[in-house]
Symmetry: C2
Subunit: 235 residues, 2 copies
């Protein structure tokens, strides 16, 4: 059976198979070596993720890796229009610890990649409220998202798992507000490329790459044109 990589997260994961999405790019990249399984749940924060995690991961077989990509919703401000998604930063850290513990407990050999929330472009967020925005203030700020990103990095370090600091990485790009983001929160094509590259890089550090993983069934370049069926003997 082909090994798996699960993508567990919120809308930035759920939308990762839209045009140019990082999830689709991972499937294409790991073609013939890994099955990439989408487990994105739009709007979810870590509190809700913990309520569903046993149902999400109900398989016996250990996957190669799981990306855990929450925080954008936890970082909604508690006094703004998306307050019902807010999770206090201390609880966010505890919840991430619990998610990592659950995965490590179930599958000790599985690599875990904690992805931090992306940066926020506040002016653009005002154009895309999820629910009625009476205050006229953005439901998230970049500064607070940055604190949640730092918290996510801290948890990764404390647990000894892989980390992607998207918040910092994206802001290294000039004009990141529109280069990396489509609506001040979700990802543009370039933003998607960055997540794809960072996940591939992170997994490579643990020896998980297309160069090292076994390929499923004979590839066309290795099939002898003079005796094609030879390649299929005894597979």
């Amino acid at each position: 059976m082909r090994p798996k990589i699960y993508l567990f997260g919120d809308s930035i994961t759920e939308m990762s198979f839209e045009d140019g999405g990082w999830g689709a790019s991972l499937v294409n990249h790991f073609n013939r070596t890994v099955d990439v399984v989408l487990r994105g749940y739009s709007g979810y924060n870590t509190r809700w993720a913990l309520k569903v995690i046993e149902k999400v991961f109900d398989e016996e077989t250990a996957p190669l890796a799981v990306t855990v990509f929450f925080g954008a919703n936890d970082a909604c401000l508690p006094d703004r229009c998306s307050a019902f998604q807010h999770v206090p930063i201390d609880e966010y850290k505890l919840n991430l610890h619990s998610i990592v513990s659950f995965l490590k407990g179930r599958w000790p050999t599985t690599q875990i990649v904690l992805i931090s929330p992306p940066p926020i472009d506040e002016p653009t967020r005002l154009l895309y409220p999820f629910i009625e925005n009476k205050l006229g203030l953005p439901e998230r700020t970049n500064e607070v998202a940055g604190n949640y990103a730092k918290a996510s990095l801290a948890v990764a370090a404390e647990c000894g798992v892989l980390a992607v600091d998207l918040w910092t990485r994206m802001q290294q790009l000039p004009g990141w507000q529109t280069a990396c983001l489509s609506d001040g929160l979700h990802l543009s094509k370039t933003g998607n490329e960055i997540v794809f590259e960072e996940v591939v890089e992170a997994l490579k550090k643990k020896g998980l790459s297309v160069e090292t993983l076994p390929v499923d069934l004979p590839v066309i370049n290795e099939i002898d044109p003079n005796d094609p069926l030879k390649s299929f003997e005894g597979i």
Copy 2:
């Protein structure tokens, strides 16, 4: 466990998670309802597909559906540069019958979608030989691909499974040679959209659609902002 749809075929399936690919579009479309599993094997014909089918489908649980998309390589001409991939049309029909029989035998409830090979743009094929082309003639012709497409439709009718006649459908588009194809054989963005739409339509005929399939876990629009955790009770 979320139900599955397998995509079984040659390079047109293997490449279906490239930018705008029909496989990625299916994942995005069936998000939260179905896992789409890629089983594309570049260069394979039905003869080779039969050699590997037991390894490809080694799972107990019946998937909702399997797309079977072979024929482009079977239709390589026996006296041209890709002759090693050629399968005579009578054997192609028998092989498709065997593939359908295997799937029906293993999973009687699974829907099978036979997708015909696409049309061929011969002048463009000359620009993309897979191996050295000493003759200077295209390795495939549109007419012969059409015969294989008809054979695939005949098998679908004989077996009572779903069919997509890509060869006819694509040629209804003016300028299909470049509109639907990227290299005279593989798919452009528009070609990928057509396959995506046709597969969704075919499955809908058997009641498999996002309107009818159960959704995995509470969706954000149904979560009460005043009591979010209520949605997660007893899931």
